[in-house]
Symmetry: C2
Subunit: 467 residues, 2 copies
């Protein structure tokens, strides 16, 4: 990582940025293959929009113009007055999406399939893997009035395919269905006003941290009865990648209702559908509640096996109302990858390594300053055919020019022959692979490097680098 | 443009974003072809770093945590105390680059060739083409202690090639050399302390706006003598794309010195070198001073012919000291494209139009919900070969599914045959080009669209769209 002077605001060195760029390019490619359109929203939202989501508002960075801050200092005036016109940096990409959808509803076609890869900011205390500025990559499918359940399967499939394409090895996705939890554990007749159920979800979410005993303790403290606690614990233990086993274990709980059956069917479909694109990587886990978010259907969490302690690298769920305006309701389903978190893990653990730290394939040496033009002609001819090339910045001895290319991680050095204006018999250009030492005559109009050398790429751990 | 609720913070609709993405992808491709490495820096810098550059500090947005702003409101406390730890959003990418270079000097190889494409923020009053949040695309070449003049030619060449690749037609770059201006118009012996020269440059910069009379008036008011004013006006009138003419006209001014000769040689080399990659597009204009910036060598400004009133779309120059730390000095040369400004012009004038508003090539129709799986298999087979495909969100009548694809701008609809499980004789899949109506049998494992349809692209004005 680049030297950090401000905690929580990570920066990458050029070689690390190649890894991040690989992640970003790969996600974009997969999202677009599935017909998601890319949008960006402004970095700021109005304070009321940022506060509407409740819990997270505490982490917002507000903006203030320097001149106005200075005027306040000098005049001893009152601090900036918070109002509906106060602007803050967005802390996620869901709040902006909701606002964008309502604002541009007439210019969008629904269901809207959009991806969005942008920085977000949270004024929280930085910790390992928690940043104040970080990039998120979100996909959402947003319907108008209605959104078919099959999109809840599709969203998981797209993300599993995207994560697989990164080359960091198989991930583990755990899925659940909030309607099923409600059907099993909700207070009959309470619906979405069910305060106890909301509390139950928060405790359930902590199952992996505090264990069955902890859950029992907290629920007892809440005044939940022993039978109900037993049911919660039985639910929490249901975790399987086998849809048939899932069906049997849920039905064995003895809570029989149409709501249980229909939501169980959904969860089984999700498990089957997601497993189809990522066999062995998907589990239904009834303890995955994502209690802090307002999900109303499928919920998803994704871990990287071996790094479970790092937390979820991709999560999300279904909202019956991502946003509403008057009588218009926009249901949505989406997942979000914490790109900066994931890249910080990839870099720290060396899960992916760049093949080189620069796009340059060829450094064209310069025989003497007077012949720099010839070297430039060579570089132009290479670029013309898509081969990244630069000309040596000095006309020092070849040994020094080679060492410079080596330090930059450039795999090939091109040596101009004396060219048509040279003295004596014209020599031919040569190109040297400075990794192997192999050197041969070459023509800038036809020479092509092996495909693997054409661009810097990333290789999984253990495959080493070319340098 | 997407409906704007906050002035100065533009957002694009999906089809417009495809144009912006084309611009961003093209710039990146050309920068990387020339061996520039991509970096990103954090969005924030410390207040002292932001204020160091002087003039622009008035436009900074400071950050304040919401909770601290609220506490101040409630307790009637003093406003946020500005300190060296106060953070603000960067207003350009040069200040962050300078800080990044010093911070990571030991991990970088010089000359550093870096490009950086990021949002920046300025708290200024928004106007036509002036935004509060906008994307810049910068290239800089930063040396350690020394930076050869040829990089000043190279930087212009890279940007001219990048702008040409956008497909918006030929641009016009005007170049000058601050050393030449100093040699011609500076007060002897004053060097960089020359206050009058600095004022002269500011007035010279306004030549195109206020004309020769205006320049004469302002310089007279400054107390500049008549002979000197005459010289300034003669200098301001020198504008040519012919290096030989440039040489003759400058020498005809009668200011003869080694400094004039050497800086004139540089400007002639720049003119020749830049014209080589963009014939007829480059002029030396001695009135281009860029007086507000601390350039010390070549300076560049780029206009789009026909839209001169829109202002410069790409500008920059050479710094002898981009940044220094102790006795270490890092000279640099760079140019910056105002991407958001440029894209807003492209969109407003329709200079580029997307061939379609979505990445999707094929919408696979769904015969009935029970056969959605088959449609998904088709889409998967297409994606497997890099063809963006999505499955119809409903199993309504084909006419409605086709109209939906049409509204989305998707060029092809795929109709599943009854498949192996169908009743009677198995029908074959067919694919229909809904622009031409052409429909033919197809196999998802082999069918390929014309290359032009594989991805949305942009076409120059007048070439129309496929829809």
């Amino acid at each position: 990582m680049s030297k950090q002077s401000i905690s929580g605001f990570p920066e990458w060195l050029p070689a690390e940025r190649i890894v991040e760029q690989h992640v970003l390019d790969t996600l974009r490619r997969v999202f677009e293959l599935h017909g998601f359109v890319g949008i960006e929203t402004r970095a700021v939202e109005s304070l009321p929009a940022l506060e509407a989501k409740g819990e997270t508002s505490k982490e917002v960075y507000l903006l203030q113009r320097l001149q106005s801050a200075k005027a306040q200092q000098e005049e001893g005036a009152a601090p900036q007055k918070l109002s509906s016109r106060t602007l803050g940096l967005h802390f996620d990409l869901t709040v902006p999406l909701a606002r964008y959808v309502v604002q541009n509803a007439n210019d969008l076609v629904f269901p809207l399939r959009r991806y969005q890869i942008q920085k977000v900011w949270r004024g929280e205390r930085p910790q390992e893997g928690r940043f104040r500025e970080f990039t998120q990559a979100d996909i959402d499918i947003v319907g108008f009035e209605h959104l078919g359940f099959h999109h809840e399967v599709e969203a998981a499939q797209v993300m599993l395919e995207a994560l697989d394409a990164l080359g960091i090895g198989p991930v583990r996705m755990e899925v659940n269905n909030r309607r099923l939890l409600q059907a099993l554990l909700g207070t009959p007749g309470e619906g979405t006003n069910d305060q106890e159920f909301a509390e139950l979800l928060r405790v359930l979410d902590k199952y992996d941290k505090i264990g069955a005993d902890g859950v029992e303790e907290e629920l007892t403290a809440m005044g939940v009865g022993a039978d109900r606690i037993r049911l919660v614990l039985e639910v929490a233990r249901i975790s399987t990648s086998n849809p048939e086993e899932l069906r049997q274990r849920v039905l064995a709980l003895g809570v029989d209702s149409d709501a249980v059956k229909s939501s169980l069917n959904e969860l089984c479909s999700l498990l089957e559908g997601a497993s189809r694109v990522a066999p062995g990587q998907v589990k239904a886990s009834l303890r995955i509640a994502r209690g802090l978010d307002y999900y109303t259907g499928s919920v998803y969490e994704t871990l990287l096996p071996g790094y479970e302690g790092f937390g979820s690298i991709c999560s999300g769920g279904r909202y019956d109302s991502l946003v509403s305006e008057g009588r218009r309701v926009y249901p949505g389903v989406g997942l979000s990858i914490g790109v900066t978190r994931l890249v910080s893990l990839i870099l720290r653990e060396g899960l992916l390594t760049p093949t080189r730290p620069t796009p340059t394939v060829v450094m064209v040496a310069v025989n003497e300053e007077a012949s720099r033009n010839y070297s430039e002609t060579v570089a132009e001819a290479l670029r013309h055919r898509g081969i990244s090339a630069e000309v040596s910045h000095t006309a020092t001895k070849f040994g020094k020019q080679i060492r410079n290319a080596e330090r930059r991680g450039i795999p090939y050095v091109w040596f101009p022959g004396t060219g048509p204006d040279g003295e004596g018999a014209p020599e031919l250009d040569t190109v040297k692979d400075i990794r192997s030492g192999d050197q041969r005559t070459a023509d800038a109009k036809t020479w092509t490097p092996p495909t693997a050398d054409l661009r810097p790429s990333v290789v999984p751990r253990g495959q080493g680098t070319t340098h």
